[in-house]
Amino acid sequence: MRDLTFTDVERLEAAEIDVPFEMDEDAFRAFYDRTARSLWSYLSRITSDPSAADDLLQESFYRFLRTRVNWESESHRRAYLFRIATNLVRDGQRRSRRGQLVALPDQDHNALPSPGADHGEASARRTDLRRAMDRLRPRERALLWLAYAQGHAHTEIASTLGVTTGSVKPLLFRARRKLAALLRSAPARSLEATREDR
C-alpha cells in the first residue's frame, strides 16, 4: 500500500465504505493482544530480521482480517494466522532468491541492539542460539520455535507449516538434533568472543 496523505486519511475516514472484516474491533484487538508478540517473535526468528518481522506482522494481521473463515477454536484461529505469516515469509524468501536482494539468514546478531547489551554469559548464550538457528533452514527454525518457544501442539505446527501431523515428529527430531549439535560446538567460540569484547 502506498503511503496515505492527510487528505487521503480524511477522505477515507469520512467515506461510508463497508469494510468486509469478519471480526469486529473488540474481538480483533483482544486476539491481537494475545498473539501479536508471539507472532513477532516467530517472524523475527525465522527471518532473522526484526525490521522484516515488523512489516510481516502487519501484513499477516491484515490478511487474517480479510479472510472469511469460520474459526473452530482459538487454536485454529491462531494456527491460521501463523500459517499466513509462514506463507508470507516463504514468498519473501522466494522473491529474494530470485532477485538476490536480501540474504535472510547468516546475519551478524552482534549488530542488533539488545537490551542492556551486557555482553555477559546470558547474552553470549542467546547470541550463540541465534547464530546456531541462523544456520538451520527456515522450516527447521520455524519448527523449533513453534514447538518450544510457542508450545504449539504437533497438529497446530502441521497446520501452520503445511505439513502432515505425522511428519512433524521426525522433522522436529532432525531439527532439534542439528541445533543441539551446533549449540554444543558453540560455547568455546562464544567464550573467545566474550573475551575479545572485553
Binding site: Y32, W40, F61, Y62, R126, R174, R177, A180
Partner: protein
C-alpha cells in the same frame, strides 16, 4: 538417520517449561536425561529457545491493537474505493475512445482534405508494413476507408455499452 523417540520427552519438557528443571526435578528424571540422548537434546534446545524467548519482550516494539485496527480499516477502505472506481475508469476509457473514433469518422466524412491526408498516411504505414510489393499498385485509400471506418464505429458503438455493462455488473 535413525529416528529415536523417547516416552519421557513430554515429562522433560513439562519440567523445563514449568521451571522445575533441574533443581526441583526428581532424581529419577535427571538420571534418565543424563543417559538419554533424545531428552538431553530436548533440554539443550528447549532451554536455549526459551531463554531467547524470555529475553525478547523488552526488544519488541509492535504497534498497539488500536493502531493496527485503524491501519487495517484505512487500507481496506482504500482498496474498496479503488475496486469501486475500477468500472468507472473502464467506462471512462471506453467513452473517451468512442469520442476519438467518432471524431475521426466525422472528420473523414466531412473533410475530403483530412480523408486524403489520413488515407495517404495509412497507405504509407500499410505499405511499409507489407513490404515493397504492396506499394506497387496505387489506389485511393480515403475512398474505401470511409465505409470501413463507419462500420468499425458502428461495431464499436454496439460493443461499448456491452463492455460497460459487463465491467459494472457484480457477477
Amino acid at each position: 538417520m535413525k529416528i529415536v523417540d523417547c516416552c519421557r520427552e513430554d515429562d522433560v519438557l513439562d519440567a523445563l517449561t514449568s521451571g522445575r528443571w533441574p533443581e526441583r526435578t526428581d532424581d529419577e528424571l535427571r538420571a534418565h536425561v543424563a543417559g538419554c540422548a533424545v531428552c538431553a537434546d530436548v533440554i539443550a534446545v528447549a532451554s536455549a529457545v526459551l531463554e531467547v524467548r524470555d529475553a525478547e519482550p523488552a526488544e519488541i516494539q509492535i504497534p498497539s491493537s488500536a493502531v493496527m485496527w485503524w491501519r487495517a480499516q484505512m487500507r481496506a477502505r482504500q482498496e474498496a474505493a479503488r475496486e469501486a472506481a475500477r468500472p468507472i475508469n473502464v467506462a471512462q476509457v471506453i467513452g473517451l475512445t468512442s469520442v476519438v473514433v467518432l471524431a475521426i469518422v466525422a472528420l473523414v466524412a466531412l473533410s475530403p482534405w483530412f480523408g486524403g491526408v489520413l488515407g495517404s498516411w495509412m497507405h504509407d504505414v500499410l505499405g511499409a508494413a507489407a513490404g515493397p510489393t504492396a506499394t506497387e499498385g496505387r489506389f485511393s485509400l480515403a475512398g474505401w476507408m470511409v465505409p470501413v471506418v463507419l462500420l468499425g464505429a458502428g461495431v464499436w458503438l454496439v460493443l461499448a455499452p456491452l463492455a460497460i455493462y459487463f465491467a459494472v455488473s457484480e457477477d
